[in-house]
């Protein structure tokens, strides 16, 4: 059977985006689990950022964030509310990256070493990492989230959108606009 070039290109894009969705989901489940299994260690790391003064707020962040990441990872793996989840991840990744960058700058200035030589445990669930690797990793995760947010990765998803368009025409427009 002959496959025309358009169908082949679509097949490749579809496969790649589903893989990207699974990869993103798996990454968040992995990092979430590594924090959720050692919540006290994560609590100590979160505290270094001096985000909040109240212990209730600090505890809530440290207790909730790992499980929230696992939740988002599971949604992506299953393909549920994909764009909503992708936007949620973007909204988490951007401030996290800024925080990690600032912490790395403080360490760099304290140690007087090149920026990319800064290595520390940022509380990202991957242990001690070089800051440039971490920033690159976050950038890639944001890129993947952006890709999913644009409407790709529909294949093999249980419920791509929780909120469906009201009309048949809307469904048509949706398909046309995002594929």
């Amino acid at each position: 059977m002959k496959i025309d070039p358009t169908s082949r290109s679509r097949l490749i894009t579809d496969t790649a985006t589903v893989m990207a969705r699974w990869l993103l989901g798996a990454a968040f489940i992995y990092t979430g689990l590594s924090k959720a299994l050692h919540p006290v260690d994560f609590l100590k790391l979160v505290r270094q950022y001096d985000l909040v003064q109240s212990s209730l707020a600090l505890n809530s962040i440290a207790a909730g964030l790992p499980w929230f990441e696992i939740f988002c990872g599971l949604l992506l793996l299953a393909g549920v509310a994909v764009r909503g989840t992708a936007l949620t991840l973007m909204l988490m990744l951007v401030p996290f990256t800024v925080l990690v960058f600032h912490r790395a700058m403080a360490i760099q200035s304290a140690l007087a070493i090149p920026f990319c030589m800064v290595k520390f445990d940022c509380g990202c669930g991957t242990g001690k990492v070089f800051i440039c690797h971490k920033l690159l990793e976050n950038f890639l995760l944001m890129l993947l989230s952006g890709w999913l947010l644009a409407g790709y990765g529909r294949q093999l998803s249980l419920c791509f959108s929780l909120i469906k368009p009201h009309t048949k025409q809307g469904e048509k427009n949706l398909g046309a606009g995002f594929r």
């Binding site: 609590l43 505290r47 505890n59 909730g64 949620t88 959108s161 606009g177």
Partner: protein, 211 residues
Amino acid sequence: MAPCHRLEAKRVLLETALVMIIGAIFALAANQASPRGLALMRNYFPEGTGLIPLATPSHNAASTNFPAPDPAQLLAAELKEKGLQLADASLALRLFHDPRFKQNIVVFIDARDEQHYREGHIPGAYEFDPYHPEKYFDAVLPACKAAEQIVVYCNGGDCDDSETAAILLRDVGIASQKLLVYGGGITEWTASGLPTEIGGRNSGELRNSSK
């Protein structure tokens, strides 16, 4: 923006809000259900303990006329402010060999988590993870009340869980004069070739650390 795209953006935003709300409820419920979950109302860091310091830059010390401060002196001063005392390696060792240790008049407290405690602790030391104190109070509190000197330790180095544990014990009524924080911790202990005990307290399974 075309009307259909505006509607689509609205739907995505609404979906995001739903994901956030359901995710937050899931996260807090999972923390509650997890045996390792955090207690939201507890202050895990009494009096500013638990901060991981940024390393001091070497060029700063060189650029001034003052010698770099000795970390042990800094720690001793910090502990003194909190009404606690620092124990160095020789004092910890002396108390370990003190006959009063066998009579429980001198007590050692290991402030690390259960896994690290079981992998090797100072022989006879009580297990007391300050982040889950409720599990250990029954055994530790009577021993501390009866003791005349209590040596609290953790990993040493940047670890200040021993300080957190000592403050916790002080806050539940143990006299601060009795409390000593062994700053070198288990790392210094094992590096000095001293024995550790594996498993539970008084398991008798000793391991000699190689220098």
